[in-house]
């Protein structure tokens, strides 16, 4: 197992190097003079010079790259051109909000997707299966922003059941320590703030989780159906095991494998989707920050946040693969 983990870690190194090269070139190869692309057509020569110096554009390209990687290894992801703040600092300040949102979306997707998929597979081609299929078809066909606005219109504007924007009602004046609003509310012993934070999470989490929910439902259904037709399941039934035992010991244990893989892959989609979800719900996370950075031509923020997102995605996939190897000995010893 340790050997497998080590092999996977070594395998990630070329990907990281490739990523750093691409993102390094991202700013350097901006069409025209990067400094003008960053500052706009009306930039003063002094400002242009400042950008050239901070990018080290007068140095040979490989020296520039080594400096860039050296900086990354020391946690220096550059600074925003708009406010001069270090990118990593701002990222870490906003990242908890994005984690909270993605975790809530994943809980929704997995918590609803797996039981629904199992239910549909139990009665294939029945009316229940039909309903689940239609729901999952809508899940993959309705864009996050469309679902987001629809839910805001119904649940916030018309029914006033749930709040439409932000993470918590500012009037509650919750002191932030970890920047995870839900955790901060628990730490502060404020049930009112906790309820409010959870209410704020519902709509964005459902919007963000809708696509993974649909995919997880489909994969669970297909995977359970596949396993149900296996000889060993028939044998298990033939030898008189209870349906419950057949389900838990023989069907689900094998059906988990593809579902786990998909959950891991969907994390990447969730991170990407967070960019759009946070814009719809004015969620103060990394996603809305990236969109602002793009609109302000703050390329360092764009470059570094994509790099950090990719790093997180790689780590999550590594964890999922290790979990997969743990579940499936055939992978471990391959």
């Amino acid at each position: 197992m340790l050997k497998y983990i080590l092999r996977r870690l070594i395998g990630a190194i070329p990907v990281l190097i490739g990523l750093s090269i691409i993102l390094f070139l991202f700013v350097r190869l901006l069409p025209g003079d990067p400094a003008i692309a960053i500052l706009g057509q009306h930039a003063t020569p002094a400002l242009i010079l400042q950008v050239h110096q901070s990018l080290g554009l007068d140095l040979p390209i490989y020296v520039q790259y080594l400096n860039y990687v050296g900086g990354l290894l020391q946690g220096d992801f550059g600074a925003s051109f708009i406010n001069g703040r270090p990118v990593l600092e701002d990222f870490l300040l906003r990242f908890p909000a994005t984690i909270e949102l993605t975790v809530a979306a994943l809980i929704f997707a997995v918590g609803l997707g797996i039981p629904l998929g199992r239910l549909a597979a139990r009665h294939p081609n029945g009316w229940l299966d039909g309903i689940v299929t239609v729901i999952s078809l809508f899940g993959i066909s309705v864009p996050i922003f469309v679902l987001g606005y629809t839910m805001v219109f119904i649940f916030a504007v018309q029914l006033h059941w749930l709040p439409a924007t932000n993470q918590i009602d500012a009037r509650l004046q919750l002191p932030l320590r970890t920047n995870f609003v839900v955790i901060d509310a628990i730490l502060a012993g404020r049930p009112d703030a906790l309820v409010d934070a959870l209410k704020h999470l519902v709509l964005p989490a459902v919007a963000l989780g809708s696509i993974p929910f649909a995919i997880i439902t489909r994969i669970t259904r297909a995977s359970v159906l596949d396993v149900t037709n296996e000889d060993y399941v028939r044998t298990a039934r033939a030898k008189g095991l209870t349906e419950r035992r057949v389900d838990s010991r023989h069907i689900m244990r094998n059906a988990w494998l593809p579902v786990t893989t998909i959950i891991g892959l969907e994390v990447g989609g969730l991170l990407g989707g967070a960019v759009i979800t946070e814009t719809v719900f004015s969620w103060n996370g990394v996603g809305s920050w990236v969109v602002d950075a793009i609109q302000n031509h703050d390329y360092f923020v764009v470059q570094s946040s994509i790099l950090i997102f990719a790093l997180i995605f790689l780590v999550v996939n590594l964890v999922v693969d290790i979990g997969y190897a743990f579940l499936n000995p055939r992978i471990r010893y391959a």
Partner: protein
């Protein structure tokens, strides 16, 4: 010689196979959901082609006195902030959205086929190098990659198609490479190799045609997500950026502020995106089942 007729019982008549694609086409047309999908797509294709006939309004010109009018016989889907006819904008938007989505997928397919064919066909170091590049692209979530590319190249139709296309490239490349690797040891490839066919001939004439099926299914499904991704870029302010042309995603962003006062402005472009995505998803699923009937349960 006379042929005896009475003694031989008639064999069970089985329709002879008329080739993979013809058989698949027949199965597709018998698949209810796929037909619904085809109709969804056709509505927009016909709407886009006949836009000038179906609506007499110019999608880019409006009367300010008519702004934000709810749906009425004169304006079937109402009018937007600048008094432009929403129905005309949804129709002309279909032109742009379908075109951007389709060409994005064609770009993705092109790059994916080149990379996947080189990797799966040539193997060895080329394969290792290309697959590492694909790994790098796969490490960046698709929409984020597209956002990064548009941010880099600037707004515009070509830029959007390239950005969305590149974000699909690694998926197509991986898929094709996998199919080609599986085919390398197939009997007909070994036979070709044994009679001295060149590597390129084997790849182009024998392996590629047999490996394209899963790619075509994936491309149909990708059309649905491409339309959503293009609209998503428009929604984030990275759309074509040309006020003269209507794009569904940008139409949504422009009307988001009026969710409370004029929800119809969001409803119609949103419905257009959803219906076309459902169409491509249903056809993609139907095509997959038609090409591999074992999948059907």
């Amino acid at each position: 010689m006379a042929v005896g007729t009475a003694t031989i019982s008639r064999p069970v008549r089985e329709r002879a196979s008329r080739g993979l694609w013809r058989d698949a086409g027949r199965r597709l047309l018998r698949n209810g959901p796929a037909i619904v999908g085809l109709v969804c797509i056709l509505i927009f294709v016909v709407g886009a082609l006949l836009a000038p006939v179906l609506s007499s309004y110019d999608p880019s010109v409006g009367k300010l006195v008519d702004r934000m009018k709810p749906p009425s016989p004169a304006h079937l889907m109402g009018t937007d902030l600048l008094g432009r006819d929403e129905f005309a904008r949804v129709l002309y938007g279909a032109r742009l959205s379908l075109q951007l989505g389709t060409i994005s997928v064609v770009f993705g397919l092109f790059f994916g086929i080149v990379i996947g064919a080189a990797a799966g066909g040539l193997g060895g170091k080329v394969d290792a190098l290309l697959m590492r590049i694909v790994d790098v692209l796969l490490a960046i979530p698709g929409i984020l990659l597209a956002i990064g590319i548009v941010a880099w190249l600037g707004r515009g139709q070509i830029q959007i198609m390239l950005a969305v296309g590149v974000s699909y490239t690694p998926i197509f490349a991986r898929l094709l490479r996998g199919s080609l690797l599986a085919l390398r040891e197939a009997d007909f490839v070994l036979a070709g190799r044994s009679i001295g066919a060149s590597r390129l001939r084997l790849l182009v004439r024998h392996m590629l045609p047999n490996a394209l099926t899963p790619l075509i299914v994936q491309a149909t499904l990708a059309l649905a997500t491409a339309i959503i991704d293009v609209a998503g870029l428009g929604f984030l302010g990275l759309g074509p950026g040309d006020p003269r042309v209507a794009e569904w995603g940008e139409m949504l962003t422009d009307s988001a502020r009026f969710l409370q006062s004029a929800p119809f402005l969001i409803f119609f472009p949103a419905a257009a995106i959803v219906i076309s995505a459902i169409g491509f998803n249903l056809v993609g699923d139907g095509l997959r089942e038609a090409l591999d009937p074992r999948l059907r349960r």
